[in-house]
Amino acid sequence: MSDAASGEGIGQPVRRKEDFRFITGNGHYTDDINRPRQTWAYFLRSPHAHARIKSIDTSAAEAAPGVVAIFTGRHVADDGLGGLICGWTVTSKDGTPMKVGPHPILALDTVRYVGDHVAMVVAETLADARAAAEMIDVDYDALPAAASLSACQNAAAPQVHPEAPRNTCFEWELGNKAETEAAFAKAGRIVKLDLKNNRLIPNAMEPRAALGEFDKGTGIYTLHTTSQNPHVARLVLSAFVGVAPEHKLRVIAPDVGGGFGSKIFIYAEETACVWAAAKVGRPIKWTADRSEAFLSDAHGRDHLSHAELALDKDGKFLALRVKTVANLGAYLSTFSASVPTYLYGTLLSGQYDIPAVYVEVDGVYTHTAPVDAYRGAGRPEATYLVERIVETAARETGIDPAELRRRNYIRTFPHQTPVIMNYDTGDYEASLAAAMEAIDYKGFPARKSEAAKRGKLRGIGFSSYIEACGIAPSAAVGSLGAGVGLWESAEVRVNPTGNVEVLTGSHSHGQGHETTFAQLVASRLGVPLANVEIVHGDTDKVQFGMGTYGSRSGAVGMSAIVKALDKIEAKAKKIAAHLMEAAVEDIVFENGTFTVQGTDKSLAWAELSLAAYTAHGFPSGEIEPGLKEGAFYDPVNFTFPSGCHICEVEIDPDTGVTKIEKFVAVDDFGTVINPMIVEGQVHGGIAQGVGQALLEHGIYDAESGQLITGSYMDYCMPRADDLPSFDLGFTTTICPSNPLGMKGCGEAGAIASPPAIINAVTDALGIRDIEMPATPARVWTALQSATPRAAAE
């Protein structure tokens, strides 16, 4: 049966298999798992952004009811446990490696942000643990904090790590400086823009959690945890932290309720839980409450940038130069150094043919929570910068923003940018045209004047984005400093009854892999979707895999499944040839049936599967029994999803409230397996982009380093009524570098939408820039000081 006829194959909007258990409360999240004799952990956290720990007295707390054990940094150090690591080394422009301060599991003598881990109390109940934690007497010597990104590199700023003078972890550069300078020297026009990319706090629906266990009989540790990449967690915990040898450590990431990057990283809490489980001889459970999540999940974004774009008299881009200061927080998180460098600088050419690009990034420490990948990771920051300055250039040159983009689009592929990336394919004009049509760009002036009659300011903004997904060719990332390869693995197990288990190294924490991956398998093998089970998230079940982030699970994870299916098909044909006494090359496999070409001989999938395991009469040495194949897929290039988002807003000048009236997203994701799931990913991504552009802002007090936005009272998450109904469209160019032609869709919405929204807001207000989030208060304030071009029209 064809994919369309079955309704289950590639391209079909199949309902998500996993949703039934999620929406009926039958999911198994880490916090749902409980063990006999389980204890509870509570982490005593630093109330100071920066302080010396003079002493920690746990004696009263140890005597408190229900307390099993209390651990401090001293215990961790005495046990020889290593600290947490950053898995990507960035080299500064002077050739020196980044300056890394130690990142202990529990603080030893210094705390470096509010929420830093000071002690772990293990008790019979969570209430006992919390009560005892309050009885721990920590003698702090509070020190001044460097909590301000703009001031942290000043000579007088307090130091986060003595290893990093001026709080500077690295001074990185990318691109061609000399060519860029030369291009600016002959430029007809130079457009300059200072931009802030606001700090975001991830807020996955499920907070982080861990359950650590130790089996005294086997010496095996088991960690259930909220991870996007359990094998990487196991590798780090064994090879670097030294909790246990890799084969004595099992990491299980069961159902996980959203990650957005924040669950890629290996954190202190799960490390301490699994390590201490052996010390206390009982399972240890920890689940973050929302306040802890605000304080201790790795945050996202937080850049200060200065950008300059050189144009010739016809509006052709000549060069882009960028200086960015990127906040890394108090410690380097697992991949933090890569985010503002190789995931950011490499995308600064955008969709444009820019002959020269030069970017400098200072990665800096501050006394704030670590900053690492958050949905988009570097690429939203790059897109925001490029699309804001391009829109600004359009306004300053008087060229229509769509026309200016058209004049500069890359039109021939492959295209080598000045910043590493080699774009394989795309059609940027097609998505622009489709988006303009969908939003009725021609009708905008009429809508604007109609709004003006109602006293409202209407604005429109573009974002032509590109991102690099399918992360990533192992050799490429290895040469750029990654400590890991970024291939993916798969194993396809055909059971004797013909149903199929697929073990994938990807990890689903909301993406719908159990459906999408099964659609691929059902389509290839001609079996019903219901007969395919996707297994992931358990290092004991699944071969080593790299996990899910960077919109890689389709392009890389599914490619590994394709490779394994190729091997399955090859072996199955061999078996079929033997059973039907034909030559292998005469076997045709279609719609789940093997036939001998030119004959009426055939064999159903289930018959063949059974025969593979009965193995009666297999010619010895030629065909092994069984039908199970594995594969590793290492991509040859990144993939380059692209598209055009256009946003139209209306602002109430009396209150400063921005309402998104229309939002059009036209994306090129290459081959789409399940359009319903893809649309859901785009919806979620845009919602997060609207959050960044209009609502969300993680703010630390610049003096005290206290997190001011530590709850939903002050941190504004997007709600359904903040969002319009999105108008989605797709244009397609097939990705040439992977077998399915997929590009990835998980992050596009969050990457593309913020500049479209801010371009619309600044258009409505007639101003050059407004800081994200463009809250009503900021919009109103801007209106008071501006001479509103739009209002005067």
């Binding site: 009560a131 306040s291 209150t655 703010i699 936005t709 939903y712 002050d714 504004c716 809250t775 304030t781």
Partner: protein, 265 residues
């Protein structure tokens, strides 16, 4: 939470007796503020006296020219009450705009005004409608009840029993919600009735709900949005935080007052 003794009396008399006996009691009504406070360990009462089960506090009665609402009446009940909707639709709408459905089905009128959160909605209705607050000990005029941020005229052990809301001729409440919490950043209740004209503002003031005499006088002369459109409220004494400056709030007071008068008709 820290440990405490929990009591759920069935009558007001029992509640008062329990309050009298306890060292450091807290009254629990709908729990929409107290429970989160307890969970965050920001309060350590010896006893929590839950008055949510006292039937005599849960009622809505329209009598003469007023609606009487029991202190333990949930916001959702007020919002849906035919009597309130008929005689005081602005009050029903205000109750229906508090928090979210879960909050409205737990939170109570008495709990809201006794807590006197400076961004709560009900204080604006009480002050804006010249309400009378009946307690276990006395009757307190709304003008005398709200004393400042989280402060009221209530004494230790004194429980709000009911609030009398006289029927207005015209009234409306216009709220500009804090984008994050959706509490009132500025909420303005305007009314005209036997008491004259009242303009009560919640959310904006550092000391909680307050009236604006200049707007009341202007509206008494000319009940129209234009009458208040140009009355600027001084920013002094208004809140200033990451969500907006005092100047922004002052501006919003005028905008919301204007819109409230327009909505009141």
């Amino acid at each position: 939470m820290y440990q405490f003794n929990y009591e759920r009396p069935k009558t007001l008399a029992d509640a008062e007796a329990l309050l009298g006996k306890a060292d450091d009691p807290k009254i629990l009504a709908g729990g929409q503020t107290l429970i989160p406070t307890l969970k965050q360990r920001l309060a350590m009462p010896s006893d929590v006296i839950d008055i949510g089960g006292i039937g005599e506090l849960d009622f809505i009665r329209a009598e003469g020219d007023a609606v009487m609402i029991g202190a333990a009446t949930r916001h959702a009940t007020v919002a849906q009450s035919a009597d309130v909707k008929k005689h005081n639709p602005a009050l029903a709408a205000l109750a229906g705009s508090i928090g979210d459905p879960a909050v409205r089905h737990m939170g109570t009128l008495g709990g809201s005004i006794a807590n006197n959160d400076p961004a709560a909605d009900y204080p604006a209705a009480c002050l804006g409608l010249d309400a009378k607050i009946h307690t276990t000990r006395r009757l307190i005029e709304a003008d005398e009840f709200f004393k400042g941020m989280f402060e009221t005229a209530l004494q230790d052990g004194e429980i709000v029993k009911e609030v009398t809301f006289p029927h207005p001729e015209k009234a409306a409440y216009m709220k500009f919600p804090n984008p994050a919490s959706r509490y009132a950043m500025v909420g303005v209740f305007v009314s005209r009735g036997p008491w004259g004209v009242r303009v009560a503002v919640t959310g904006a003031g550092q000391n909680g709900v307050f009236r604006i005499a200049e707007m009341e006088e202007a509206l008494a002369k000319n009940w129209s949005p234009d009458a208040v459109a140009n009355i600027k409220v001084p920013a002094t004494g208004l809140n200033s935080d990451l969500h907006g400056t005092a100047e922004y709030r002052a501006h919003l007071v005028t905008v919301m007052a204007k819109r409230a008068v327009a909505a009141a008709g």
